[in-house]
Amino acid sequence: MKTLLNNDQLNITLLRLAHQLVENHLSFRDSVIIGIQPRGILLSDRITQIVKNITGNNNIDYGKLDITFYRDDLQTRNEIQVPSFTDVNFSIASKSVILIDDVLHTGRTIRSAMDALIDFGRPKKVELLVLIDRRFSRELPVQPDYTGHTVDTILTQKVKVYWQEKDGKDEVVLLDKQ
């Protein structure tokens, strides 16, 4: 096991990501934030809060997207997945959407998320923010617009992101799976 980001590093990275978002989206009048269920929303909760603090705008549209029904591995997985909640109660038509997930690996989750998103309307633009980019392991042509930390991994390794709210600590570790 190797620590990729400790508590301080993680929080500095979150601040940087939030500032980068504000740099590009300014008031967030035509921008919305959407976190991907289940683990991506822990990151998007944090980022959204920091963005609100920086901009002073408390009315930023923030939604949560579940992509279970859009996965491309439903026929090959043996276990049926019980979905988490989708909560997007605003229009994304003609908006800039910032998709947020914790770890970018094969790119398949993001592919599903874009399909799910388009069913809610036609966004003007979709951007991707991830905390950890597992470089060189992509199976689809998906690249992030905002990256917290880039890491080279092999397939058997696993990146685990811990959050204070859920797991009692802020930390990102790289696990070697047996």
Binding site: F69, L74, N78, E79, I80, Q81, V82, F85, T86, D119
Partner: protein
């Protein structure tokens, strides 16, 4: 997470956890059904046959819509106009349909137990859409789901089922489902339409409809199934309506507003008067709306089960 069963044959075989899982999944699909784009790509690798050996409007349309909204390919079959009238057996009919690579079968049949029989002979997942006077599991699920939407947790809630209990698969499935969810159930109707020893299922029996209504939070009113009554069990429909029908004066005289449900089709003026069926207390159309979400949940949760071995659990 999967259901504990490979088929949905009856509520009897489901665990409380299965029912909860179906409800949680249905919540999600209800959200999808309220969006402008209601279609999902989830099951675009699956073909489903809806085999109806008995008439149906709601259940059949509801299943078909649910399957299509999940992206599945759907074929419909009804006994009239098929080779059944040429003497083909149930198993042959189904084997022929499955030979065309169908993954799931939704079946309604007039013989009680037909889906269990089929489950022993074919590999595809089977969903019972009503078998004779036995079970109608998706109806019970959508009924309980609709009640829960109005009342919250059903534990300790009181439900009266009124009408032709003897011939009703809706009644039996509802009793199983409500018992599992912790609700109290009373069945009410003329003595000739209430089976003997039904108390052994854990329900109360009441022959006075007014008293049964005073007791309950929800009244689920059933249709008189004349097609299943081979000898007369009450004198006239008019008499039935007089003694066992639910009307507005009766509802207004109760201490509280109870919820009125009906699985359809309604015989207006017999078990329910029109002003009750169309009243604010009636959630009959909510039931129909929820039916699609519940059936999407059941189809989705069973869609992966055909591939699992060893966990098969059938009646």
């Amino acid at each position: 997470m999967s259901l504990s069963v490979k088929h949905l044959l009856g509520i009897k075989e489901l665990t409380v956890n299965d029912i909860e899982q179906i409800f949680i999944t249905a919540d999600n699909f209800k959200g999808v059904l309220n969006r402008s784009i209601k279609k999902l790509p989830t099951l675009n690798h699956i073909a489903i046959a809806n085999i109806f050996f008995e008439n149906s409007t709601r259940t059949r349309i509801s299943f078909e819509l649910a399957e299509k909204r999940l992206g599945a390919d759907v074929v419909n079959f009804s006994a009239s106009g098929s080779s059944v009238s040429k003497g083909e057996t149930l198993i042959d009919t189904v084997h022929n349909i499955l030979a065309m690579k169908v993954d799931m079968v939704v079946m309604r049949h007039s013989a009680s137990g037909a889906p269990w029989f089929l489950a022993n002979h074919i590999d595809a997942s089977i969903i019972n859409a009503g078998d004779g006077a036995n079970e109608h599991p998706t109806q019970a699920l959508l009924d309980a789901y609709s009640m829960r939407e109005k009342l919250g947790d059903l534990k300790g809630k009181r439900v009266t089922i009124i009408g032709d209990i003897m011939h009703s698969r809706v009644a039996l499935s509802n009793i199983f489902c409500l018992n599992k969810l912790g609700a109290e159930v009373t069945v009410a109707g003329p003595p000739t339409l209430i089976p003997k020893h039904i108390e052994s299922l854990g329900v109360r029996v009441e022959y006075n409809v007014k008293k049964a209504l005073e007791w309950c939070d929800v009244a689920n009113v059933l249709r008189i199934q004349l097609e299943r009554q081979h000898k007369p069990l009450f004198s006239t429909l008019r008499e039935y309506a007089q003694y066992y029908g639910v009307n507005k004066q009766m509802l207004d005289s109760l201490a509280k507003d109870i919820i009125i449900m009906h699985p359809g089709p309604i015989n207006r003026g017999v078990e329910l008067t029109s002003d009750v069926a169309d009243s604010k207390q009636s959630i009959i159309l909510d039931q129909v709306e929820n039916g699609v979400a519940i059936r999407m949940a059941v189809v989705y949760l069973l869609s992966g089960s055909g591939k699992r071995d060893g966990i098969e659990k059938i009646g």
